[in-house]
């Protein structure tokens, strides 16, 4: 072991001024050092928390986006060319007697967002690394390899489109910070999951010679089975009303198409086809949706149960169901042929669709809505 070598320090250049430093000073400015009016007022006092004591989430989220209905006295200081600026309430047809009554049950703020997504990322990376090390893909049949390349590949586009053009877009528009942040977190779940699937596709392209890493684009653009899903996604991105976009995606499309594909197909059949990796990715996306469904349910329940506007809101949402359920059912039916593609078919389309429909009807019944009859 060598003796530590003393670092050679260059002397200050001649003529250079001596650098000074601020001196610490004991000021006694800590809590409790004196008693005076408000010396113990140690909670934000301009909003009512849901329970006796505000959570960190409530503290860091509530009222950060001002509202002329609450404390904002001067009104919005900038307007669009032909409409009010800020966060106009008429950007959705739904109404609330108190938009601020919504709090995200997931309590998403900085720490939860990064911890949750980092955990998912680490889980996926470990799974993929282990799969590579174990040569897990080498047992895949050509049929299954093609199935994953085409269909799991196509699905990533749906996640990307919804993440970018439904949820990123909608988080600009709701009347409160609590709603917008919940939608914002929803958007990054979608975008992260889309990228998870894309990078999985890249991994498979590098690991499996027979894996066609480009076919997902053709499948998404032109394969007849996927055109209903693509049409549904594109039409969702074209909705101008932020609440309708979130509703038609999370309450209609997701149960009838998203969960149908992810949980009721992929999670059921992959293992029987020798693939224990794909479900771990798909499960992460399903976990994201379950998390996002919690805020969705809380938001739309609040609006359907609103004492003043509940009835009108239910009528509007029922109209949205009438408009969007046929689109999503059509997308689901068009997707039916892919149930026949794998060598091992452990579930039928009818079974999968029945399971998805049950989840959907349960969800909308909770909201006091009814499912439109099939045409």
């Amino acid at each position: 072991m060598n003796a530590p070598v003393q670092e050679k320090v260059d002397p200050a250049p001649k003529g250079a001024a001596q650098q000074s430093f601020p001196k610490p000073e004991f000021t006694g400015a800590e809590a409790g050092m004196q008693v005076f009016p408000s010396s113990t007022s140690r909670s934000y006092n301009y909003f009512k928390p849901q329970k006796m004591r505000a959570t960190v989430y409530e503290d860091v989220t509530t009222d950060v986006q001002p509202d002329p209905d609450r404390h904002l006295t001067q009104g919005w200081l900038y307007g669009f060319a032909k409409s009010e600026g800020g966060y106009p309430q008429d950007w959705t047809a739904l109404q609330s007697s108190n938009w601020h009554a919504f709090f995200d049950p997931n309590e998403e703020w900085e720490q939860t967002i990064y911890r949750n997504n980092s955990n998912v990322v680490r889980q996926i990376e470990l799974n993929l690394q282990n799969a590579k090390d174990a040569g897990a893909y080498s047992h895949w049949s050509p049929t299954w390899t093609r199935f994953v390349a085409e269909n799991v590949g196509a699905w990533m586009h749906a996640e990307q489109g919804l993440g970018m053009h439904v949820f990123v877009s909608a988080q600009r528009s709701a009347p409160t910070n609590m709603i917008n942040n919940a939608i914002c977190v929803n958007s990054v779940h979608r975008l992260r999951f889309a990228q998870d699937l894309a990078l999985y596709n890249l991994d498979l392209s590098e690991s499996l010679e027979a894996f066609d890493g480009k076919v997902h684009r053709e499948t998404w653009r032109n394969n007849p089975s996927w055109q209903g899903v693509r049409e549904n996604v594109e039409r969702l991105t074209a909705i101008g009303d932020w609440a309708e976009a979130v509703f038609a995606t999370n309450v209609v499309f997701e149960p009838l198409v998203g969960v149908l594909f992810r949980s009721d197909l992929m999670m059921q059949i992959a293992a029987r086809n020798g693939d224990y990796i794909t479900p771990t990715l798909i499960g992460a996306g399903e976990n994201d949706y379950n998390r996002d469904l919690r805020y969705t349910r809380a938001l739309f329940s609040m609006l359907t149960k609103d004492a003043e506007h509940g009835e009108a809101n239910r009528a509007i949402m029922q109209g949205w169901l009438d408009k969007w359920v046929p689109v999503s059912r059509h997308a689901a039916y068009e997707l039916q042929p892919i149930w026949s593609q794998p060598a091992e078919r452990t579930v039928t389309f009818a079974e999968s669709f029945a399971a998805a429909t049950l989840d959907f009807t349960t969800l909308i019944a909770e909201l006091g809505l009814t499912s439109p009859k099939e045409q």
């Binding site: 000074s20 601020p22 000073e25 000021t27 400015a29 800590e30 809590a31 004196q34 005076f36 009016p37 408000s38 010396s39 140690r42 909670s43 934000y44 960190v56 860091v60 989220t61 509530t62 950060v64 001002p66 609450r70 404390h71 006295t73 001067q74 009104g75 919005w76 200081l77 900038y78 307007g79 669009f80 060319a81 600026g85 703020w109 990064y114 980092s118 990322v121 990376e125 990307q160 489109g161 970018m164 053009h165 877009s169 988080q171 600009r172 528009s173 914002c184 958007s187 992260r192 990228q195 998870d196 894309a198 990078l199 890249l202 997902h216 684009r217 594109e234 039409r235 074209a238 909705i239």
Partner: protein, 547 residues
């Protein structure tokens, strides 16, 4: 992730987007800019798989420092002068941050480039991070600093105060009006690329000098995300430059954005740094010196001027004018004086300047004492209730200024004040450029071309109008800036909490009438107004040494 695999991964992610054929995404936010001819430019590569763990690690460091600060009792050594100004700063900044998140769909709507969309979406979640991490820092201050009053009412006070209004129009500027003007030029090309340097780098170093090492910890963590945002902005700028038709709009918006950012950010951050500090070492940089380094050299000379090679006209005159206002015309000092004169309607306590401060200011800004010294001496003399009204309502030779209709900082450099009738109302402006912003730039036509997507200035822009003719005690009650005994004011013009007799109460403000300069202006005859304008511009607003 290695650089090679990052490039591969990024390339793969570009495959996620597609050209829709059934329906196209709703365009809810319009722009007058055109991107039809633009080559697609990539911003900094960012993959969410590496992004989330990276940010989590940054968070862990921040929260570790927070725990350490509490265990080590950082607040034994923080300067109250500094912490009080944080009640204003930290009430403002989470809103511009969250507004930046909300601005991203504007830019996504406007720019047809999926790679930039991905960069903007990451920026969106960054901004949620910034907003909530800053709110949490403030929560920690509220829990551990000696005087929580003002922190406890933070977001309400931000939404109703005479100073919050300045910061609010800054954040609203990101999310309203022409999508590119707001979300690209104003937010990214100027606010983030130029002024976050003073906000998030210069100011935290001053915090550390005042015993507060949490502000640097949080804000440097925030600033480390900004390079990606700057890259997003630059990519959009390069795309916009591909179309000659955009040039006129870019030049308009650079002038507006530069000047408005200067008016607002330099006013606030300059005040916090110069008047919030107790560090008066002569070799400590003044705000002007920091500005020269971070804004003039690092932004103007290294970022803006090189854009001339693309044929863009850079607002050299406004950069020089901003410097002139900061250094020669004492802009920051006049703002601090305005904030301090308005102390009864603040939600923090404002410490007086002392002989030690005077010496430092005179050394850094020659001529400072003659202009401001006697006023601060009067401020100290009138600091306690009983024998006098608040300084605002005592005759110390200081005339309460008129607000600038555009930037909302008052017209403090009095000789530059502009008064014009705009939209059938007499309005005052701090400068010709702020007048131009309202009268020329934020209009549906600009220099003969239609600009149907440009935003509008709206709202009750002069805060004082809200309380014209009110009793001052009623104003403060209505604002809610009263401590939990129902009488003592949150704001005080000093830091002494030890003697209840030295603390101003609502009763001390009764019988004082509050007025709006703009209402008064609009009630003047033509002759009165001309005379008033001449008097306003020629009044040095200097407290005589004898007062």
């Amino acid at each position: 992730m290695s650089r090679q695999s990052l490039s591969k991964a990024h390339e793969k992610i570009t495959e996620l987007s597609w050209e829709p054929t059934f329906a196209t995404p709703a365009t809810r936010f319009g722009t007058d800019y055109k991107f039809d001819k633009s080559p697609k430019k990539d911003p900094l590569k960012q993959i969410l798989r590496s992004y989330f763990p990276m940010e989590e690690e940054k968070d862990n460091r921040v929260f570790g420092a927070m725990d350490g600060a509490i265990r080590g009792n950082m607040f034994r050594q923080v300067q109250e002068r500094w912490m009080e100004w944080q009640k204003l700063f930290l009430s403002i900044i989470p809103f511009p941050e969250i507004s930046a998140a909300r601005a991203m769909p504007l830019a996504i709507d406007a720019v047809p480039n999926p790679q930039i969309h991905n960069g903007l979406a990451v920026q969106m979640i960054d901004e949620v991070r910034h907003s909530t991490i800053q709110m949490n820092l403030k929560r920690l201050y509220m829990n551990h600093y000696i005087d929580p009053a003002g922190f406890d009412i933070t977001e309400k006070a931000f939404a109703n105060s005479y100073c919050g209004t300045i910061g609010r129009q800054f954040g609203e500027g990101f999310i309203t009006g022409d999508a590119i003007t707001a979300a690209n030029v104003y937010l990214t090309l100027v606010a983030e690329t130029a002024f976050t340097n003073t906000l998030f780098v210069a100011m935290p170093s001053e915090a550390a000098a005042n015993g507060d090492y949490l502000l640097p910890t949080v804000f440097h963590s925030v600033q480390s995300d900004e390079s990606r945002h700057i890259s997003n902005g630059y990519s959009i700028l390069l795309m916009a430059l591909a179309d000659e038709d955009n040039r006129q709009l870019l030049e308009r918006d650079l002038r507006y954005a530069w000047w408005n950012n200067h008016c607002v950010v330099d006013a606030a951050i300059g005040t916090f740094i110069e008047y919030g500090t107790k560090d008066r070492r002569k070799d400590r940089d003044s705000y002007a010196e920091m500005w020269r380094r971070w804004i003039y050299d690092d932004y103007y000379r290294s970022y803006l001027i090189p854009l001339e090679k693309y044929g863009l006209v850079i607002p050299h005159d406004l950069v020089e004018a901003a410097w002139d206002r900061i250094y020669n015309k004492h802009y920051v000092h006049r703002v601090a004086q305005f904030f301090a004169t308005g102390w009864p309607v603040a939600y923090w306590r404002i410490d007086a300047m002392t002989d030690k401060d005077f010496e430092w200011f005179e050394d850094k800004y020659p001529g400072w004492y003659d202009q401001f010294g006697p006023w601060w001496e009067a401020y100290s003399r009138l600091a306690y209730p009983g024998k006098n009204k608040p300084i605002t309502f005592e005759d110390v030779g200081y005339e309460y200024p008129h607000r600038c209709w555009t930037c909302m900082v008052p017209a403090l450099i009095r000789e530059d004040m502009v008064v014009e009738k705009v939209d059938d109302q007499w309005r005052t402006y701090c400068s010709e450029t702020c007048y131009w912003t309202d009268a020329k730039a934020f209009r549906p036509q600009y220099e003969g071309r239609d600009t149907p997507n440009m935003g509008r200035l709206t709202g009750k822009r002069e805060w004082e109008t809200l309380y014209h003719g009110w009793d001052l005690a009623d104003v403060v009650s209505d604002l809610g800036y009263v401590r939990d005994d129902g009488q003592t004011l949150i704001p005080q013009p000093h830091l002494d909490l030890s003697d209840p007799k030295k603390l101003w109460k609502l009763n001390d403000l009764k019988g004082i009438e509050f007025g709006s300069p703009n209402v008064t202006l609009n009630n003047m005859t033509e002759e009165e107004r001309v005379a008033w304008a001449a008097s306003y511009r020629s009044n040095p607003n200097r407290t005589p040494a004898s007062v």
